[in-house]
């Protein structure tokens, strides 16, 4: 993977000038590559990782295990893409093992999530069962520890 992508994945706010110094590349080359990645839909967006516990929000998050009946043509794709279009769905994966799809959903209340499952998801053609697990607390999100990076002391000057 291009180290530029890795750097942006870690910290998307770095300036092209800083990136160019780190990668030993001209700044306009960095800018050109970023534009190309965006055009090619390799970079799909830039988002902040927010600690929801510290923000006044009543966001409810859940993961849902879904079993579906694969179709003769298209396999799991048609149903999966249909589910993915709902606003409540933040991530969706096809899985190996005891169920087929793993869905991450968000709602403003327990009720909203429950309604989504009962009314939209479970009633879809092809969905044979669902199992919903509500998230209680986040410790780590997208590689970031929620209470910040580990603090450790170093001598300010050492040989």
């Amino acid at each position: 993977m291009d180290p530029l992508l890795k750097l942006l994945e870690e910290h998307a706010l770095r300036t092209p000038v800083d990136l160019s110094k780190m990668l030993n590349l001209p700044a306009d080359e960095v800018q050109r590559r970023i534009k190309q990645y965006e055009d090619d839909k390799i970079i799909l967006g830039y988002k902040a990782v927010i600690n929801d516990d510290k923000v006044d929000t009543d966001l409810v998050k859940a993961v849902i295990e879904v079993k579906i009946q694969p179709e003769r043509e298209g396999g799991f794709d048609r149903v999966a893409k249909r589910i993915a279009r709902f606003d409540e769905v933040t991530s969706l994966f096809l899985m190996s093992g005891g169920y087929d799809l793993l869905i991450f959903v968000e709602g403003h209340s327990l009720r909203q999530v429950a309604q989504f499952v009962a009314e939209k998801l479970a009633t879809l053609d092809g969905v044979t069962s669902t199992g919903t697990h509500f998230m209680l607390k986040t410790y780590k999100e997208q590689g970031v520890m929620m209470d910040g990076p580990e603090e450790y002391e170093r001598l300010k000057i050492s040989p």
Binding site: P3, D18, M22, L155, K156, I157, P159
Partner: protein, 393 residues
């Protein structure tokens, strides 16, 4: 100072009294008294030890591993060390008789010197260099002799310069590549030439390769691996830099049986053995930590590129170091001594770098800036150093 009652005699040994206080320690005291300092003065990895290695230490404690080990160190660790050296350094040691686990490379260097130096023996080393080489030689009543390395040669040591410095009293040479503080590395050809001079002059080589995993381009070449060199080499290495394990204090010395036996005599009566907890953690590092090294090295590479480019833009000429995690820019253009530069930079902009003369007179007109801290520190430091240098004009 509170008055202390004077004794008639000065109990401190003369050779200890003659060792100057470390230049780093003086500077450390000034830095400690200040807040909001961005430090490029750190001589250890800016990462905490990878979790799986720390977890192995906890596991060892939980299972009651709290006793002494063999003086040599745990056999399973020595075996892992030998396998690692064979695979990555192309040199073979016998885990039963040729490896000694020590309390960091610092102890390994000390026992190596104590094992080989007779009073007055001349020990060569290159300079600017790690702060402890000269004092360590003096502590064993040896005569240290510095060989200057130069910026125009990227601070690599040349065989020619060794040949010029050798005298009939010369017994050994201490090598440290990649080098602290210059980041210099040696190519295979340079190592081969140095090896030839050592054989020609019947020198023992003590090679401190603690930074070898932090080599950014080309492959690290150990002098121990060259034909005819193992028998005249004491190879020192450890876990501090590659695995970010400085606080575990764990290193090792490898050498032919007779030399290892001599070092063991010193080690068994002075240190007994390295901490068993650290040894267990070190084993985990060797068995499962190779990816950690690569990941940290890539982070250092980015920080190095950034800080070196910044120094050159600011007008402090800096070669691109190929190893370790230190940049060594020249501050000659500013007209300040390295100490004045470091103190004024600290006072005016709250950035700590280490004055080059702390690494021997050859380091004057340079400062050591370590890039092992987080990228955000590099960015802040570069900005502040630019302001400082602009203010000097």
């Amino acid at each position: 100072m509170p008055s202390e009652r004077q004794t008639k005699r000065d109990f401190v040994a003369e050779h200890v009294r003659s060792i100057p206080r470390s230049g780093i320690r003086d500077f450390f005291d000034i830095v400690q008294s200040m807040d909001n300092v961005v430090s490029l003065g750190i001589g250890e990895p800016g990462f905490v030890t990878p979790w799986h290695i720390r977890e192995a230490a906890i596991f060892a404690l939980e299972h009651g591993k709290t006793g002494y080990t063999s003086n040599f160190g745990l056999l399973k660790l020595r075996r892992a060390i030998c396998a690692y050296l064979k695979e990555h350094f192309y040199v073979e040691y016998d885990p039963n008789t040729e490896v000694l686990v020590t309390v960091g490379v610092s102890e390994a260097l000390d026992i190596a010197l104590r094992a080989i130096v007779n009073p007055g023996d001349e020990i060569l080393y290159h300079e600017p260099c790690y702060v402890s080489y000269h004092p360590s030689v003096r502590l064993v009543h040896g005569a240290g002799k510095a060989i200057r390395t130069r910026a125009e040669n990227r601070f690599a040591l040349t065989a020619e310069d060794i040949a010029k410095s050798v005298t009939p009293r010369s017994k050994a040479i201490v090598l440290n590549f990649p080098s602290n503080p210059t980041g210099a590395t040696l190519t295979r050809e340079e190592v081969e030439k140095i090896a030839r001079v050592c054989v020609d002059n019947d020198l023992l080589v003590i090679t401190d390769e603690i930074y070898s995993e932090l080599t950014y381009s080309g492959q690290h070449s150990s002098i121990a691996a060259l034909p005819g060199m193992k028998e005249r080499t004491i190879f020192l290495h450890g876990f501090s830099k590659a695995f970010a394990m400085t606080g575990f204090r764990i290193g090792y010395a490898c050498a032919p049986t007779a030399l290892t036996e001599a070092m063991l005599r010193v080690h068994q009566y002075s240190m007994l053995c390295a901490s068993i907890i650290s040894q267990e953690a070190a084993l985990e590092a060797l068995q499962k930590g190779m990816d950690d090294i690569a990941a940290m090295r890539e982070q250092y590479r980015l920080r190095r590129n950034f800080i070196v480019k910044s120094f050159n833009e600011i007008g402090l000429p800096c070669h691109m170091p190929n190893g370790a995690f230190y940049a060594f820019p020249s501050i000659r253009e500013t007209g300040l001594t390295s100490r004045e530069f470091a103190v004024q930079l600290l006072e005016q902009q709250r950035v700590a770098v280490v004055p080059g003369d702390a690494f021997g007179p050859g380091g004057e007109a340079y400062v050591r800036a370590s890039y092992c801290g987080p990228m955000s520190d590099m960015e802040k430091a570069a900005e502040r150093i630019a302001l400082f240098v602009r203010g000097l004009k």
